[in-house]
Symmetry: C2
Subunit: 342 residues, 2 copies
DNA sequence: TTGAAAGCGATACCAA
DNA sequence: TTGGTATCGCTTTCAA
């Protein structure tokens, strides 16, 4: 501990022989201040390791330059908190925010108090909210939006939402994935996912679209609802095969984690993947290409999505209205669905 | 936007017919205030959705109740930013901090300005720093510690550090991993990792310990230095086998990501795992048990580590001296090293 | 182009 | 047990 007595703007100003007003303006590069003065003060600040007190500045300006990112998880803690996909989104958001000179306050829905607007916005902890994951209920998001809080949510962009949503073309992605299986001759594909979840509901529609496009009747026994975890995917497929035998020849899973769980269950039973059962997931997490066989998937463009989310949020901070966006997806074909690929 | 005019403590006080001093004390549950008054004011606050202005409070108290968590990444951005292990640590830190009523400001070493103390501490953005990843150079950490900033680093706890470090028993873990391979008859194990990295250096020592304990001479050609990524692990083993043939019968990899890359390279060459080559990694990421064969690994107790890091940091905030801690590890035996396991 | 001074909203000392 | 009041450090209006 060397320099304990705080070195404030007024100290700096005194040192430079100017008023705090001038010093403040100079540091912010206000052109109203003579360039020479500006440079002198900036140099002095650098030399003395000076930095403005953010708390004071925030109090005065009523702006924090902080965005709260809330990981909106479901009850089973262990689930999504380890989902590499969600964490990737957080990483990308961090990057996008920093580039615009905003900081990221990380929270999750277990920790954050119930009233987000009150806790983050009214209290001057953050200027806006980004929620990752629509989960099954969006009452908190709606409440925040209605209270006037700037908010952007990662979720299903086609939801008739009362708040701004950015997300992938879920329905299209699911359709492409399912069609990919069908075209390779797998006409009895399973839908594996969580129907109560908005994004997954869209993916289910895409699955149905693909079946319809190929005149394949929907077989309810192939629609399996399950949590979005590795373990749940494993259990679900394991149970299904045990009970009904191998009455399907493909799997479209709503997340790669689920797909990998399903794959494990099949491998344990020596099912030939992709010949007897072709599998495709969603998200394209890094693990997808590492699995054996490498997992086909629908890649979500999280980097682009993160940038859009931040842009939208800053728009709202400027008083402009928000607008939802759907981000394109990309079919990644690998060996788990197509034997000609690696 | 409904309630735009800010509702401040003084408004609340007026409403309650008391002074701001009393209101402030009541809200914080100060027992000096008559219980009846306290409850009345708290109820009023709840009713009016009141929350204290954090910026003002921080300015006045000179405490932010915020901890900056810095992801300290190496140059190759793409690398660690996707490493599930590091992200898990962040998740656990978030939990541990929230439990103690602290918030987490997320940064990474690319974004954070150079002088951490100045940017985070002097500027009243955070009360302390937690750095995840020692990387290859620790000059910034040393600078922060010398400037008197409360700081705790995730890294190698046996480093002769000038700052508080919390980390796993790297040497012991590596020794156990390597011995596990040896005991199963794999007497020519490769060491796969990045020797410039402090934690990995310790793991290398552990690897040597195990060899020495079994009177196996160290063979330099089996020590392979590589980046800690999936791709690097793949390339390294691929290249090695191509050049020298299969001149090893086991792999101890410094991270699961590297191990999985190596595994993929071997599988492509139809090497029998674990019979011909047994593999074990480090970290025990979720993917480890999903891979095929499931990957043996050394589990790091990140949850406990996160709690210790937070405890240590709060200690420093109280002016007490910091102390480094080594957290125990656990050998997880799976099929990639032991054919009798699943 | 610069300076004086008011005030952002809480906390805590001192008095009562 | 409560209240008055001086700060915390910065930004910004108004005046010079």
């Amino acid at each position: 501990m060397q320099n304990n007595s705080r070195f404030t703007l007024s100290d700096l100003a005194k040192l430079a022989g100017v008023s705090t007003s001038t010093a403040s303006r100079a540091l912010r590069g206000n052109p109203i201040i003579k360039q020479q003065t500006r440079e002198r003060i900036q140099a002095l600040a650098l030399e003395h390791n000076f930095s403005l007190n953010a708390a004071a500045s925030r109090l005065r300006t009523q702006r924090t330059h902080v965005i709260a990112v809330i990981l909106n998880l479901t009850e089973h803690t262990e689930q999504s908190i380890n989902d590499p996909f969600l964490l990737k989104v957080v990483g990308d958001l961090n990057q996008a925010l920093n580039e615009r000179n905003y900081e990221l306050l990380l929270s999750n829905s277990f920790m954050a108090k119930d009233d987000w607007t009150q806790y983050f916005i009214k209290s001057s902890r953050a200027d806006g909210l980004i929620v990752v994951g629509q989960a099954k209920s969006d009452t908190k998001m709606i409440a925040a939006a209605e209270a006037g809080a700037p908010i952007v949510v990662w979720g299903d962009p086609h939801a008739s939402a009362k708040y701004t949503v950015v997300g992938s073309e879920n329905r299209l992605g699911a359709k492409q994935a399912t069609e990919h299986l069908i075209k390779l001759g797998h006409t009895r594909p399973v839908f594996l996912g969580d129907l109560e979840h908005a994004e997954m509901g869209e993916r289910y529609k895409g699955y149905c679209d693909a079946l319809a496009a190929h005149n394949i009747p929907l077989d309810d026994s192939l629609v399996m609802s399950t949590d979005l975890t590795y373990q749940a995917g494993y259990d679900c497929i394991n149970q299904s095969v045990k009970t009904n035998g191998l009455n399907f020849d493909g799997i479209f899973a709503c997340s790669d984690m689920v797909a990998l769980g399903a794959m494990k269950a099949l491998k344990e039973r020596y099912v030939n993947i992709p010949v007897d059962v072709a599998i495709i997931g969603f998200d394209d997490i890094p693990m997808a290409e590492m699995s054996h066989p490498a997992l086909s998937s629908i890649k979500q463009n999280t980097k682009l999505a993160a940038e859009i989310m931040v842009t939208e949020l800053l728009r709202q901070l400027n008083g402009e209205p928000g607008q939802s966006h759907a981000v394109g997806i990309e079919l990644k074909i690998r060996h788990s669905s197509d034997p000609t690929r690696t």
